[in-house]
């Protein structure tokens, strides 16, 4: 690239810092709210310096409903990701090695069905689950998560996998290894990072999911995002608790996201950038 003029460099720095602020200030505002007393929270002008209090955190950690929501979220996300991996990894293996129209069409169908707005699926699932008794069960929610997680993992693994040369696998097959052996002994060890990254990304999506959890879980199977909304509905003004609970959902998502950011970028661009 060309040497940039001073003015342009200053403008670039300016915009970068500006946008960093745009991202961070709202987030810190919410984080601050979680450690403010009620009086500090509503003071005008806003208090930027205040005595932090962790009352809200200790309250939600003693709230059995909140704790069971944490548990539900973990159970559902972890199961959904595990089940997704079981079908998605072999599928990605096949798609990576196949050629021709069947492969192309399968890949596209998986993408298109995932892009359909969740609300389209929600209504029939509600009616169906109501009939067969899957409303308010873990398994009901886990099944729905598969719709989004399986294609996500396949689509993320494909470019990573395609970037790994198949020479070793080819050689193994010529020597008489079965496809299953090739998958387990050659491809998977090379693909560990990609699988871990796609699992984490799928976990984040499951962890963050709100729409299905709101309707298909009712009384027993309440996940974290729904539990927070219930704070809003039933305890309208307890902003401290809402903010503290928000930190509980958002921090794991961001921390995990931090580790997979490179892979995610690779996954979205068809392997143009390696992780």
């Amino acid at each position: 690239m060309n040497p940039r003029s001073k003015g342009i460099v200053v403008a670039l720095y300016g915009f970068a810092i500006f946008w960093g602020g745009v991202i961070l200030v709202p987030f810190f505002w919410l984080a601050a709210l979680s450690v403010k007393t009620r009086i500090d929270a509503f003071s005008v002008p806003p208090k930027l310096f205040f005595e932090p209090t962790f009352v809200a955190y200790s309250e939600i950690l003693r709230d059995s409903k909140f704790l069971s929501a944490v548990l539900n979220s973990v159970i559902i996300s972890v199961s959904a990701v595990t089940l997704s991996l079981l079908v998605a990894v072999p599928a990605a293996y096949a798609l990576r090695n196949m050629v021709g129209p069947f492969r192309r069409n399968s890949t596209l169908v998986l993408l298109l069905l995932r892009m359909v707005p969740g609300m389209v699926y929600l209504l029939p699932y509600f009616v169906l689950y109501d009939r067969i008794g899957l409303l308010d069960t873990h398994i009901g929610l886990i099944l729905v998560h598969l719709i989004f997680n399986v294609p996500l993992i396949i689509w993320m693994l494909l470019p990573i996998w395609a970037a790994i040369p198949d020479d070793l696998g080819e050689a193994a097959r010529i020597d008489g290894a079965t496809l299953l052996q090739t998958l387990f002994l050659i491809d998977l060890p090379l693909l560990k990072g990609g699988i871990l990254a796609s699992s984490i990304l799928a976990f984040i999506f499951s962890w963050n999911e709100f729409l299905f959890a709101l309707i298909l879980g009712r009384r027993e199977v309440i996940t974290l995002p729904v539990a927070i909304v219930n704070f809003l509905a039933f305890e309208g003004t307890e902003w401290g608790k809402i903010a503290a609970a928000s930190m509980f959902i958002v921090l794991p998502a961001i921390i995990f996201g931090f580790f997979v950011r490179r892979y995610m970028i690779a996954g979205m661009t068809g392997g143009a950038v390696k992780g």
């Binding site: 060309n2 670039l12 970068a16 946008w19 961070l24 709202p26 987030f27 505002w29 919410l30 509503f42 003071s43 005008v44 002008p45 806003p46 072999p90 599928a91 096949a94 990576r96 090695n97 196949m98 050629v99 399968s106 890949t107 993408l111 069905l113 892009m115 707005p117 969740g118 609300m119 389209v120 699926y121 929600l122 209504l123 029939p124 009616v127 099944l143 399986v150 294609p151 689509w155 494909l158 470019p159 395609a162 198949d166 998958l183 963050n208 709100f210 709101l214 927070i228 903010a243 995990f256 996201g257 950011r261 970028i265 690779a266 979205m268 661009t269 068809g270 392997g271 143009a272 950038v273």
Partner: protein, 305 residues
Amino acid sequence: MSPSQALYEPYWKRRNRSFRPFLLPALALILVLTVIPLLISLAISMTSLSYVSVRGPRFIWFDNYINLFGDPRFIRSLWQSAVLIFGPLPFQLLFGFLLAVVMNERLRGLGWLRVIFIVPMFFPPIVMGLMWKVLFTPQLGGINYYLSLLGISGPTWLADPTYALISIVIATVWGWTPFVAIMFYTAMQTFPSDLYEASRIDGASWLQQNRFITLPLLQNTALVVIVFRIMEGLAIFPIIYVMTAGGPAGSTETTNFYAFVSGFEFLKVGYASSIILTFLAILLIILAPSIRMLLGNVQPREAKL
């Protein structure tokens, strides 16, 4: 298949067949989990199914669909969906481009900012909604206090029909600009450096390079981004749900949200299905021309044989 036929079968077909069993479980699972509900949805949309009616559901053909177009609330929701999908788009594209340029320049000391830029991508939408609700709530959020320091008397935001819509647009720009930026940034990594080299020798300035090389090369990526944003423009449901719940006075009710309200508040499941399927059809009609192109673009690299 006779042995002689098998002998002449091309290698790639045989190879495909041996890999097929690995693909089928995933394909079967996804088809069962999506196509069956879609068919159920289609069936329900032609009935009067309602959880409040004492009478059982009747089959009423396309009555729900016909009623839709006489339903002012539906028509209005279409308009509001368009505002919430297309309103943020220019800002997301502009800021996303600028961010991508900043990231691409690898300025000293800004590595950590690249990490911060993508934070919203992992944000649970529900928390995003709560966060902006806090910010826009008088006293709690402080936005209006800081506006008043600038001599601006801030609106009531979420309580005002026009500004409620704008508030959601702002939240959406915050949330999805990073996605656009990352898409642009990764595309830029693939641009051949000799183009920039040649233009530099010809005396092009930095601005000219961005204007006449980078921007035109980003066209395809921009189209992919736009298609994704239109399809996922509906994914802002949680944000609307916590920020305004469709209000005030229905001013932020998207078609998506109206389907939700019809189905799960009015419990008119049949009618709600017809709303959301009509909306899906409209989206697909809008997107049909670009979907072919999109698919060519996001198709992962073909495996070498």
